[in-house]
């Protein structure tokens, strides 16, 4: 049984550490916020200019001037701060953010990631993704292991235009967890989702990954 979106987010939350400043991407990564362990202090950064992102507001208490990077209404916490976009990206590009968890269209065995454009289709833009993968200390890519046609998204070399080179430290998919072994410059299978077999994950992984 592969992991659901929510279970993938819960698994990614196990990578959080007390005191971390974290940026969560749009989509499944946003769900990680629901799984921060009790008693752990994690500060969420929103790249449009906020540290200490609070939960969604109760209906009627929304404020059009207070949104996250997904343009959703949010709230503050006692520890929150606001700042301009240059300061926000100084946090990201200056290496002050501990962890970025982001979605991906493709991740390659060398740590490259593509998640912003498909040639020939409408290009929406990279937003802050290129800054995040280039600047944040540790980057986790969280995505479905295969596409709708069943083809691997964890591959030998990205075919889509890159978001960043050699920047992904961990891959978490619906099938398992892969840690990048810096010494061998290779991803290594760390954990399988419940009832997912080694044969299944091998068959669905195009990237050259260490499985034992």
């Amino acid at each position: 049984m592969s992991w659901t979106r929510n279970e993938m987010a819960a698994r990614a939350a196990q990578e959080l550490e007390d005191g971390f400043y974290v940026n969560l991407g749009i989509g499944i990564p946003t769900l990680v916020a629901n799984h921060i362990p009790d008693g752990m202090s994690v500060t969420l950064q929103s790249e449009n200019g906020m540290l200490g992102m609070g939960p969604f507001p109760i209906a009627g208490e929304e404020d059009a001037d207070l949104i996250n990077a997904g343009k959703q209404t949010i709230t503050t916490l006692p520890k929150s701060s606001f700042f301009d976009s240059a300061t926000s990206f100084a946090m990201i590009r200056g290496g002050h953010i501990d962890l970025s968890i982001l979605g991906a269209m493709e991740v390659a065995e060398n740590g490259d990631i593509a998640n912003w454009m498909i040639p020939g289709k409408m290009v929406k833009g990279m937003g802050g993704a290129m800054d995040l993968v280039a600047g944040v200390k540790r980057c986790i890519a969280l995505f479905d292991h295969t596409n709708k046609r069943g083809e691997s998204k964890f591959i030998k070399a990205c075919t889509l235009p890159l978001t960043g080179q050699n920047c992904i430290d961990m891959v978490i998919t619906d099938l398992g967890v892969f840690e990048r072994d810096k010494a061998h410059n290779q991803f290594r299978l760390q954990e399988l989702a419940p009832k997912v077999t080694l044969d299944e994950v091998k068959a669905k992984t195009e990237a050259d990954v260490i499985f034992e």
Binding site: S46, E47, N48, G49, M50, P55, F56, P57, I58, A59, E62, D63, A64, D65, L66, I67, N68, A69, G70, K71, Q72, T73, I74, T76, F82, F83, D84, S85, A86, S88, F89, I92, R93, D112, M122, V123, K124, G125, M126, G127, G128, A129, M130, D131, A134, G135, P161, L162, T163, G164, Q165, N166
Partner: protein
């Protein structure tokens, strides 16, 4: 010479003509200078180059200037919320230059601070790096990005005074403080103009030197993604 104007149209009076480069503050629809955008539309100025993180939505914000075909080129990081934008871009009617969001913010900051260029790791090895100077610092590769300036910057603030001092509210600040610095003329629309001296100098975000004109105007403040939790 007073910086205070009574309407958005008057605040842009004498400034708008074809071919201008305009910076417009805001992230999504949060913190956009709604009234100044509408006044720019009403001015009829066309062939505009607009530097803004996003391009509004259909019929609102910068979407209004797209409908009237006043924009020749956009410099943005994300434009995914606007069908008319997509139509004009795919039809070859609109030029588009994508910048990573942090690169965009820093280019505007640099432009306003008199810094013609800077090196960044962002975009190395991607389409963004093509044709740009590469340079190694301490064993890592960086690319050269240039500062951006504008003929006019239009920004939205929460409170301001007749000196042009501004404070912004919550995440409506985003790109506006840097754009105020990078505009040759910066026009600010604010929810409220307060008497000089009413703003605590310790908490002014944009000092008045960066703001040439200011107008108090009521904003609609649309919400793009109303998201709530159970009480």
């Amino acid at each position: 010479m007073s910086k205070v104007f009574s309407t958005a149209g008057e605040a842009l009076g004498g400034l708008c003509h074809d071919g201008l480069t305009i910076m417009s503050g805001g992230f999504g629809l949060c913190g956009i200078p709604e009234n100044l955008i509408a006044a720019l539309r009403d001015s009829g100025a066309s062939d505009l180059t607009v530097i803004s993180n996003n391009a509004g939505v259909d019929g609102f914000g910068l979407g209004q200037l797209l409908e009237t075909r006043q924009i020749k080129k956009m410099i943005s990081s994300y434009v995914g919320e606007n069908k008319e934008f997509e139509r004009q871009y795919l039809g070859g009617e609109l030029e588009l230059e994508f910048n990573p969001q942090g690169t965009l913010a820093e280019r505007i900051r640099a432009g306003g601070a008199g810094i013609p260029g800077f090196y960044t790791k962002t975009g190395v090895g991607t389409l963004i790096a093509e044709g740009k100077e590469h340079k190694d610092f301490e064993g890592e590769t960086f690319i050269l990005e240039t500062g951006l300036k504008a003929d006019i910057a239009i920004v939205k603030a929460w409170k301001g005074d007749a000196e042009g001092n501004l404070i912004f509210k919550a995440t409506a600040r985003n790109f506006s403080p840097m754009m105020a610095m990078a505009g040759q003329i910066t026009v600010a629309e604010v929810d409220e103009i307060v008497p000089v001296g009413a703003l605590d100098p310790n908490f002014i975000h944009t000092p008045g030197i960066f703001v040439q004109r200011i107008v108090e105007a009521k904003c609609e403040k649309r919400i793009e993604q109303l998201t709530v939790r159970e009480a």
